[in-house]
Symmetry: C2
């Protein structure tokens, strides 16, 4: 069944030719924005614009209908008023269209009788004609391998391993925007809005089967069938990490979800129970989704939960060690004591005053030579009690990119360290007055397989989530539910 | 007593002439960095450099001793080896020095008998000679009104109303760096390290009395005397908000604090009890300190806890409404239903499809005219159930500063709104691919009295903290302790 799904969904994620319906010359017109976005992102297929009035847009033809396009079309993006969608679907079927991605809102989520009726009609038409509907009320598909941009974003980023499904087009976009900034790379993503024909379970099944996807994230506001959802979630989590963000866990949030995507959210305890049974990781904010996906993307296997924390080279020092201990230990990670041998090695390497040779390790200001610092890193990762290294760095201080050259030199050491031994390396680089330096130095680390987090708490939560996933995989019974 | 303290501590925060002891020509020399930092920041007083070898630094004299400076000196910054500090203090006393800010480490925090002995000696010498010691093992004082920079930062920012005391010099610096970026303005700050002579309680008493300080924040790793600490905390919180971040709440964190500042942290429950009894707000991370101080700085009075949330103009929309409801309501804030009148006004102003006229309000994409948007803002803040407005905006989308012009136009509306009525206005602007645009548009809002937060959770936690402070002030019995 699963290989079939991959084949059946192929035109969703790898369309050959897309027609955008509802393209006009007005600046704010959604159809026009989808259309130009495909062109600007360099979509690797043909793109056609449709408007019943005909004419031209930017020197290219506006076809009066899908059927008047003199080339094959396998996917349409529909951005016309809801009441015209049923007729258009019939025409699309005649043209041989396989997938209709429906941006248009005003269906069941409107809460009106007419909206519900229209939604039933389009599903009926699509079923009769062998068309798959993505949406309605959605931003649709992102497929960087095909340079298919997300929504109207003009942008297709690098191809990666994260598959993401989102009931919210806006949050999906925010996640990808924040994610791109943080170094997330997607295999595919889909905003499916009302999910009237293909629902979360269908996309979960697809991502479970998709060999290009090794980590799966989801923003969901509701589920139609708990048992079916659990089956699909288990199917994913057995093979790859599954990160679930559920919107609507509070009463007001749940009410809001009804009018947003027509979702009945279900009690929050049900979601926790489902996540736990499936061996999925439940997260509670946009930032936690991004942090957790980043950790899974970069740390391909179980990193363990015993870390060595190193700081002090570029500010922070002792106080950061204290607050890092609090952040990690309160979330169930451990900072084990270093062995006598490690402490001896560190004592030989570090100046006596202002440094502390236990875990967390404070290397004490800016005077330590680079070669000694590398030996310190080596000493702590070679300690048998240590599973991975967390280094805390700062790129600026009071409006000045004070440390950039030194930070870059240290980052080169960390990259060498990562490349020359097996234990993972993680960096914390907090926001401050030197944001440009922070973002650019961070990029190099991420490319080298070192995840970079902005906050201690974010890093700790993400690493705890990673630990939870692997613990559940090893021993489903012993899984301790991630507490918020 | 309190006016005395203000006068007694005057040379700590408003020195007339500073001598830096331990200035050499080496690049990494701490004394030299303190010295040049004072010059670069434009310290409004005289600055002298001292080194027993004499000579010159950057064309200015290196005095061989404090006593050889041919001008009055009221404050010294000491960056010489610990063992020489006692002798130097005697010489300083003869010169009429009132304050010794001791950067040098290697005292009680070293855990050695010799360190403890030396610390006792310097306190004895200082007491005998009427000198106040800030530190030792500290970064010292920040006083923007005098252009006295923090530590070696070269920078004195705008004068503001926040007083901050920190047992950690590094965390104090990080807080100020992140704070400056986020729009925090300080009246004074002090990193006091081992706090051997002047402790947290002394600085709390000072900030309680200081009329220029209207909000007080503290990073602390220990307290010497719970009863005395409670007295001082009550003294502050009765007059102005007090935000407490305690490092060392986990076992490893507490151990680390001992070696960092020699602090015995005490059980965590004690800190919660003290904060609760004092009517102070307890926070749990660097980001929460900054968010909470920002909220107090900008919202000068009790903002209430019933908010109207508006999004959708620049991405996010319905999904953001759902997750905002979750973030705020799970932290005890409320999104009340709009009145029938408000909903009618909104229905007339907004297009029917893709918008939602309840709270959270989704204004639905980019087509709404600016004048209508302003009327929407007015409608929701004029609703009697609404205490304040939270607007969610985005400055970028997939590597493009896509919305900057529109965001700036909307921000101008928000500033007008803020200026023309009484209810507070708060903005959420999440991190993404257009960080420069985000930081620059945010600055303008903060200057206009609109606090800007990066995350829903950060804003919710900060506003909850503000609510907790005012609730405790009104009714100490009813105070619900902020849960982590």
């Amino acid at each position: 069944m699963q290989p079939d799904k991959l084949e059946q969904y192929r035109p969703i994620f790898f369309p050959e030719a897309i027609a955008v319906l509802g393209v006009s010359g007005e600046e704010a017109n959604a159809g026009a924005r989808f259309y130009t976005s495909l062109l600007k992102a360099g979509f690797q297929g043909n793109v056609y614009a449709v408007n019943p009035r005909g004419g031209e847009i930017d020197g290219r033809p506006l076809y009066p209908s899908v059927s008047s396009i003199p080339h094959p079309v396998d996917t349409v993006i529909i951005a016309i008023p809801a009441m015209h969608v049923p007729t258009v679907l019939e025409e699309c079927a005649k043209k041989g269209v396989k997938v209709a991605q429906i941006y248009t809102a005003g269906f069941s989520e409107s809460g009106t009788e007419e909206g519900r009726r229209l939604e039933a009609v389009i599903v009926e038409k699509a079923r009769q004609n062998g068309i798959l509907i993505v949406g309605p009320n959605c931003m649709g598909v992102y497929s960087p391998a095909r340079r298919l941009p997300y929504g109207m974003s003009n942008y297709a980023g690098e191809v990666g391993s994260i598959g993401f499904l989102s009931q919210s087009g806006g949050l999906g976009g925010m996640l990808m925007d924040m994610g791109v900034m943080r170094g997330l790379k997607f295999s595919k993503a889909v905003s499916f809005g009302n999910g009237t024909m293909l629902d979360s379970v269908d996309y979960l099944d697809y991502f479970a089967a998709d060999p290009a996807t090794t980590v799966v994230g989801a923003y969901l506001e509701g589920m139609r069938n708990g048992a079916r959802f659990l089956e699909s979630a288990i199917r994913v989590a057995r093979k790859k990490p599954l990160v679930l963000w559920r919107g609507g866990r509070t009463e007001v949030g749940a009410k809001c979800a009804v009018s947003h995507t027509g979702s009945l959210a279900g009690p929050d305890a049900l979601w926790s129970a489902l996540a736990q049974q499936a061996g999925a990781v439940r997260v509670f904010s946009l930032e936690e989704v991004v942090d957790t996906l980043l950790a899974f993307q970069v740390l391909e296997r179980d990193p363990g939960n015993r870390l060595a924390f190193v700081s002090g080279l570029t500010g922070g020092g002792g106080g950061i060690g204290v607050s890092a201990s609090d952040a990690f230990c309160s979330r169930g990670l451990q900072l084990p004591a270093f062995s006598a041998e490690t402490r001896e090695r560190l004592t030989r390497l570090l100046p006596p005053a202002g440094t502390v040779t236990h875990n967390p390790l404070d290397v004490g200001g800016q005077t330590i030579p680079m070669e000694s610092l590398f030996q310190c890193f080596l000493a702590v990762v070679q300690d048998p009690a240590v599973d991975f290294l967390v280094f805390h760095e700062r790129t600026g201080f009071f409006m000045q990119p004070a440390y950039t050259a030194r930070v870059e030199a240290v980052n080169d050491l960390l990259i060498t360290l990562k490349q020359t031994q097996d234990k993972p390396v993680v960096v914390i680089s907090p926001a401050g007055t030197a944001e440009n330096e922070r973002l650019s130095t961070g990029k190099k680390l991420i490319q080298a397989g070192i995840p970079v987090f902005s906050t201690l708490e974010g890093a700790a939560a993400a690493l705890r989530n990673v630990n939870d996933y692997w613990a559940a995989k090893k021993n489903p019974e012993a899984r301790i539910q991630n507490s918020e």
